[in-house]
Symmetry: C2
Subunit: 338 residues, 2 copies
């Protein structure tokens, strides 16, 4: 297998911010795997929160490039080998897992979702409204609704929360996810969350510090909305540890390492009676395709990373209102915009 | 999709008995799925213990034959539909799950293990010595060792246990699994199991009644060998419930409903820190192929169901000593002999 990679520059249409950070422009890495005249691609979206960077991703790729063997069909043993050796670099493993799946689909001439025995992916996604000045929030919300989105995710945990949410609920009655990205101290969360009940949120993500599972268990008891773990839940082992502390988990492929680890997390969460959503970071469609591939297995999708971009370098995912879908093309079903 | 089925008569070389029942001859059902000029096959091996019979399997097949839709690639939604509608008939669902996977592999020209991204299956299997008179036990053990088997599973829970085990340990030093098939009352198990320590068992399966999880938890504390649940553990939900009560589980495809449910059980057991073995009933190679396909994911295999037969109606699985393996043929990799 021949592995090559290059950086990809992407830019959100609006500055994208949470309670913790902001993005005006960023780089990801596109990794390309060639073997036997067939190529597969994946995107690596490192996140500093999980000890990942562009540099650590490139160092990992350089370290594994001659270490993947000569059969891209061996996805499971290859991914297990990578997890054992580079456990902290799961964004890179995600990109390689995507490229391997893409290669297999290309080689056999079928979409990856078909290889996996799944429904053709077609899923409602929330559209995320990042933290911003109230005037810009209004612009973003109006744009989102005008564009046909029918489920919204709002970043909360800032002083303007009520102003934002009151405006949204004055113009939008549909599903509303709230995401605090660890913003609140435990006592603050206990006070804030009951005040959010009036906006009828579908769920509330990561209200407190990612290590503070006990507070999340307390917040569940408020019964305002299901409490979901995002930053607290990176990989399969976390799902088990979080059992009883939260109602659901947010699986992101750059946290867990791709399709195979995500399928294990879904099986664990389902078995343990937890709800599941799929999330993403700001990214191109190339790294939306893998989670969208398995979206028929989960409750909710927040797969808007590429929809937030001024221009998506990849195409293949179509959108009708708030629903995104993959077509019948072989592999992951996305290709560089040409 | 066109579904047809017929009964298959199979006969063990020696009468096969456990502490609970005996088999001289039995019937299974071969189900054949045809679509677009391609065919897939699976075997249904009903077990009365789980409320399954040849008749209930045939009734289920008749009920679903016009209800499977027109795309055998949709394995996951089809299996989910069947589980929702015929939860008690998982042996039948297993046969259909196998036929669907076989069809997909045949259609794409690749083995199912490759479709699933797994290693080429090559796994040590235990060879099972059923309950029998001491003279016949000697014959069976001597035959098994002469045939090159290098791991044995012994059915225990009868008065001759010590005579059997003492003989085996006088001629065999390798891995030895003990399976009581619920034979013992709790107090009996507490007394018997320490006496078995001298034979150095690798694991002890289902020592007590399948509903008596508490006793299994007590028996773990003896630390004679890991305690595995078989009859107690049918499907994914059981894995979660058994967490903390046993060290491992025995997944059998006619209990759980095939490859897809088994993969969920493996993910759950792994996530919960439990060991996993794959087991089977007396059957042809057609229903050994699906569990063997995923055997690289588990700790132990007891996949000797077809090796116990006087004549296996299917071929394709090769054996070298105690190790069985699947080749490169498309689909499940087994075909009717002759």
């Amino acid at each position: 297998m021949k592995l090559t990679w290059k950086r990809l520059r992407i830019r959100p249409k609006h500055r994208f911010a949470t309670s913790q950070w902001a993005t005006d422009e960023k780089e990801t890495i596109v990794v390309r795997l060639e073997h036997g005249g067939v190529a597969g691609q994946g995107e690596i979206v490192p996140s500093e929160l999980y000890g990942q960077s562009l540099e650590s991703a490139e160092a990992t790729l350089a370290a594994v490039q001659n270490d993947l063997g000569d059969d891209p069909f061996r996805i499971e043993p290859i991914v297990q080998h990578l997890l054992a050796k580079f456990d902290g670099q799961r964004a890179t493993i995600d990109g390689l897992d995507a490229a391997l799946h893409d290669w297999c689909g290309q080689k056999l001439g079928v979409p990856v979702w078909k290889l996996l025995g799944l429904e053709q992916p077609r899923k409602q996604t929330t559209f995320t409204i990042g933290v911003a000045e109230p005037e810009l929030i209004r612009v973003k919300v109006d744009e989102a609704l005008a564009a046909g989105f029918d489920a919204l995710k709002i970043k909360v945990g800032v002083p303007d929360d009520h102003q934002t949410l009151a405006y949204i609920r004055s113009v939008f009655k549909g599903p509303l996810f709230l995401d605090a990205n660890q913003a609140w101290k435990p006592q603050e969360a206990l006070a804030r969350i009951p005040e959010l009940a009036r906006y009828h949120p579908t769920l509330i993500e990561q209200p407190v510090d990612r290590r503070d599972w006990q507070s999340m268990a307390e917040l569940r008891k408020l019964r305002v909305a299901p409490i979901f773990a995002d930053e607290s839940c990176e990989r399969p082992a976390d799902v088990v540890r979080l059992h009883g502390y939260v109602d659901g988990i947010n699986i992101k492929f750059n946290k867990c390492g791709g399709i195979r680890e995500a399928l294990r997390m879904v099986a664990l969460a389902r078995g343990l009676g937890m709800q599941v959503m799929l999330g993403c970071f700001v990214c191109s469609s190339l790294s939306i395709a893998p989670p969208l591939t398995i979206a028929s297995l989960v409750d909710y999708a927040d797969l808007d990373g590429a929809l937030l971009l001024a221009e998506d370098p990849f195409e293949g995912i179509t959108r009708t209102g708030g629903t995104i879908q993959l077509g019948d093309r072989p592999g992951l079903g996305v290709w560089a915009r040409g």
